[in-house]
Symmetry: C2
Subunit: 294 residues, 2 copies
């Protein structure tokens, strides 16, 4: 039970809440929602999906030299990852010029591909792609204590969902193998789709859902129609989802530079609310016996 | 097994397909999708949700006399149901003027209500509202053979979803009792929602999803992430969902004026495709031993 968690107040808070839920809450209302990036798998030095996008941009630039003079293709082709980080930094300073270039290019990458073709590309990426600094494939960058928390909740008849700002269809091809979460329980951002004449669903160059911040509770209701009693996140983008939850709110604090990364940037507001409202803060360093497992 | 179905080619087609699926298709891929209006419950002489809306418009007009001179409030207050039918008829002739008045008024009815408050209103409606001609409460206007088909599929480890042009949050409060379908398996049209400062989800005056026609396969993918192997519908709005399905396609033909209604209006294209592509047409008159059960 709760393998990979170190005995202490965090583990006890989880175990106590689950024990209480089992006697007080009907199984169908035992809904648990988990953010993905930084909560179930590693999000540093960059989102895994951003690496996927950068590789695809580089491939596209390689096949079309005219693109190579334009951003973000040039940065992708030259392996200039700082440009991508800079686009986000500029965004926080109120300058969206680079982020918009990236969004338009990113949304164009898989246009007119079917959802099945896109899923095959994602599966291929996860079969081979490695984390840039941790020395392991991305598919082994999931947090072992979180997977054991998923299993602990399921053993007590909770239904667990992933609720991520990342792409719904980027996660679905691997959530079964990585987390035991089937596609119908993956909620995330999504490009527009259209039903074409041949009976397939084809990707459009539009953003249909950006599942972050206040959109997370909206998507939870849209998809599930129940209010979660367990919510787990790590950043400001999870703040509203945690506030929407009535029950156990868990916030992963990345304070483990030795085994993973130590950072609070992007989590300031969530950490503040956690302290003010008594949410349970998970210290990666103190609460987890291992981060990634064997 | 398949109670309320008369022995014959339709019942055999269903039983044979299910028997084949059980040996050939993994349980997690046994996904079945059901339209609601005209497929699981009666949609004549008007959609049940339209009756709900008209009653709410009349209530609002009663509380605000200034509204009573305007459509659609006047028609609602005067019980002039022909006006509402006329709005739809005009729409098919290319004149959306009345339908737009109805849409704006309908979308405004529950603005700033929480999703829980709305659910309570819907539950209250179904506790009392009666069908105008069938002499039974709306909650008893579901088709008994369809409920037994849901149970037959579940007994063979299918997962069944409602996929309706009707309101997702209008159906959810009753799908459990009427069909044994929980809220997370109800897909439908939806108003915009926003997460408010107090931590609740509040209805907005916008239409977020209109789950009809080509939007049905898109919503099925968005919500489930799997392609159905059973699809059941009755109208042109189900045509794309039936074409998206790989497996058993069932189309309810309303040909039973004695026990329910007889009509093909709004189902012309779907019936044509059914005949051209060998979908299974369910004759309400010939295939169902009872329509509404005891």
């Amino acid at each position: 039970m709760l393998e990979h968690w170190i005995d202490g107040p965090t583990k006890s808070a989880i175990a106590d809440f689950v024990a209480h839920a089992v006697t007080d809450i009907a199984p169908e209302d035992r809904v648990a929602v988990f953010d993905n990036d930084g909560t179930l798998w590693c999000e540093k030095p960059a989102y895994i999906q951003l690496d996927f996008v950068v590789r695809r941009l580089a491939e596209k630039a390689a096949g079309d030299p005219a693109l190579r003079s334009q951003q973000p293709y040039r940065a992708a082709a030259e392996g200039d990852l700082a440009w991508f980080g800079g686009a986000i930094t500029k965004h926080y300073r109120g300058d969206d010029s680079d982020l918009e270039l990236l969004a338009v290019a990113g949304l164009s990458l898989h246009v007119s591909m079917t959802v099945d073709e896109y899923a095959a590309r994602v599966a291929e990426f996860f079969a081979h792609a490695e984390h840039p600094t941790l020395g392991r494939p991305y598919r082994e960058c999931t947090y072992a204590p979180m997977v054991s928390l998923l299993r602990h909740l399921e053993a007590h008849h909770f239904t667990c969902y992933v609720v991520s700002g990342g792409g719904r269809d980027f996660m679905r091809p691997v959530t079964g193998a990585l987390y035991g979460i089937p596609p119908e329980r993956v909620i995330g951002s999504a490009q527009g789709l259209s039903f074409d004449g041949t009976g397939d669903l084809v990707i459009q160059p539009t953003l249909d859902v950006f599942d972050d911040g206040p959109e997370k509770p909206v998507q939870i209701w849209s998809r599930i129609g129940r209010r979660p009693i367990v919510a787990v996140g790590n950043s400001n983008g999870d703040d509203e989802m945690l506030r929407y939850c009535r029950g156990l709110r868990l916030l992963v604090h990345h304070d483990d530079a030795d085994r993973e990364f130590a950072y609070t940037a992007g989590a300031e507001r969530a950490l503040e609310h956690a302290h003010a409202q008594g949410w349970t803060v998970i210290s990666m360093r103190d609460d987890w016996a291992t981060v990634f497992g064997a």
